[in-house]
Amino acid sequence: MITRFLWQGMDRNLRLFVLLILAVGISLPLANLILAATNPAHVPSWVLQLVGKYLCYALLALAVDLVWGFCGILSLGHGAFFALGGYCMGMYLMRQIGSRGVYGNPILPDFMVFLNYKELPWFWHGFNHFWFAAIMVVLVPSVLAFALGWFAFRSRVTGVYLSIITQAMTFALMLAFFRNDMGLGGNNGLTDFKDILGYSVQADGTRAALFFASSVALALGLIISAAVVGSRFGKALTAVRDAESRMRFLGYRVEGFKLFVFVLSAAMAGVAGALYVPQIGIINPGEFAPGNSIEAVLWVAVGGRGTLIGPIIGAVLVNFGKTWLTGALPEVWLFALGALFIVVTLLLPKGIVGLWGQMKSRSQSRKARAPA
């Protein structure tokens, strides 16, 4: 039943793409671990960390595309779900430090000792277990998305108003998490992680495993998204995107459709954030910055809104460009980002994947016109 559900959306291209993601997920860590540093095919650890980060961003982009591309909900606050997933993972990692912190307190993380906490705040309980943190990574963003979506979709808040609400949500969370009273490390956030599941987060083997886990999460996210979009639910979903009131007159309760994808998408973003944090080694309130959420939307636009592969390609390409430009010409990056937004809006309404499709259909029609 579940396997049939998961395979219903897969076509040949998607299957190949899933295999490609898994191939990257296996080959890069192996090239890092097994090959000698002198070997030209050796992948240095910093590349592994960088590409691992891209994989998490790609999963976030896929989550944004699921609501924006297929349901027409332009969320400008998906960075919040990503960051919340990240914080849940960060809390687990903090509790793993134990007495190895600077102050050597076996229970309280360093920042709490520094801020004169006498005992662990209630919401930190349970995060010493990985399974608990893993559930929270999915649950916390989902519950927030459910609460926001429940009120917004029922009161028929759509379009730009919904975008503003999501943007305000991530901004409010950023301000809240900056406060020391929040009990989550204030503006320093959570860092100085030591172990994950008993393995050092610095070790090459752990990094390789995290990289592989990220690729598996991305592949799974892609398969689930394809199944949802390829089902009859997906047909109804894109119909809601194109003509919402028409769907109401057909007797569909549009809210349920929107709420389901919004929550699913938030959960995917949360998982992406949770995989991101141990690879980067820090989570702080800056991850809630509205700009991050807007950048994620841009990745989707560049790659191709409303396609499944597009957001992944977009996230990897734009972030590669960002890494390269902020290194080579740091002052140019923001201008390049702005220019990219304009170029995509004007020239590539369907993104890179759409461009490829256009060229393909053009060459086909040329072939059809050619005399036999």
Binding site: S231, F233, K235, R248, F249, L250, R253
Partner: protein
């Protein structure tokens, strides 16, 4: 205050004393209307007579200020939302055809097909044999079998109107509200549409709002003339067009 006593009636649709005003302008003014089961009724009237507002009230898009709207002798439509009213069995075709442009003709009909509406069941459901047979049947009634895999966006205006009628059929409502089905159609298309609607009327009650007099004549059904939000005249097309008040409203003084 005592609850309004709902008149027991055999009518499928019963409107009584319905008033709707927008910023003081009365779009509907004490409008009453009775549609019997199995009937097809044509509603005509000049621009601004309140035809579309009446449709909006029946489908739950607009709430009337006062008045009763009763469907099937029991359901009070002024208390229900669009989705519930659609589920009760009232289908609507809009003035401007709004088919799903990024879906094929067949998928458009599949979405409209009565039954599956819950999002969680749709996640795993495949179209059943009965559903596929019904789709074929509708495709042949609206004469669009050959175009079933075309995207909605690529249909001509007339084809979109027929697809809309097909979508209404797929909903299998007790009552079909059809808003200006032949606007912008050629004469041949208009004639075909009248045939399609007469065929639809064999199994469904229909209310048609239309400007085109030759089309209304081709339908050959009872006509209600609306003017300034209330009923001006009712009867066969010949009767109402002989009515001096109707002539005055249409031709002006």
């Amino acid at each position: 205050m005592n609850a309004p006593t709902m008149r027991s009636t055999s009518a499928l649709l019963y409107l009584s004393g319905v008033t709707v005003s927008f910023d003081g302008f009365k779009a509907l003014n004490n409008l009453s209307l009775l549609i019997e089961p199995g009937e097809m009724r044509a509603i005509i009237g000049p621009n601004g007579a309140g035809k579309t507002t009446m449709m909006d009230v029946i489908t739950g898009k607009t709430r009337p200020d006062t008045g009763e709207v009763v469907f099937d002798g029991q359901a009070d439509l002024t208390k229900l939302d669009e989705a519930s009213i659609a589920t009760l069995g009232i289908g609507r075709k809009f003035q401007k055809p709004t088919v799903f442009e990024n879906h094929t003709v067949r998928d458009n009909l599949l979405l409209a097909l009565a039954g599956m509406r819950s999002w969680y069941r749709l996640l795993t459901a495949a179209p059943t044999k009965a559903e596929n047979e019904r789709l074929e049947e509708i495709l042949s009634i609206i004469r669009m079998g050959p175009q079933q895999h075309m995207l909605g966006a690529r249909l001509s205006h007339g084809q979109k109107q027929w697809l809309e009628i097909g979508m209404l059929l797929a909903q299998n409502p007790k009552l079909m509200l059809v808003d200006e089905p032949v606007a912008g159609m050629t004469d041949v298309e208009t004639e075909t549409t009248a045939q399609v609607l007469r065929e639809v009327n064999k199994s469904h009650s229909v209310v048609v709002v239309e400007h085109d007099m030759s089309f209304v004549r081709a339908l050959g059904v009872k006509v209600t003339v609306l003017h300034e939000g209330s009923t001006l005249a009712e009867g066969s097309l010949d009767q109402v067009s002989a009515d001096p008040r109707v002539v005055e409203v249409y031709l002006g003084r």
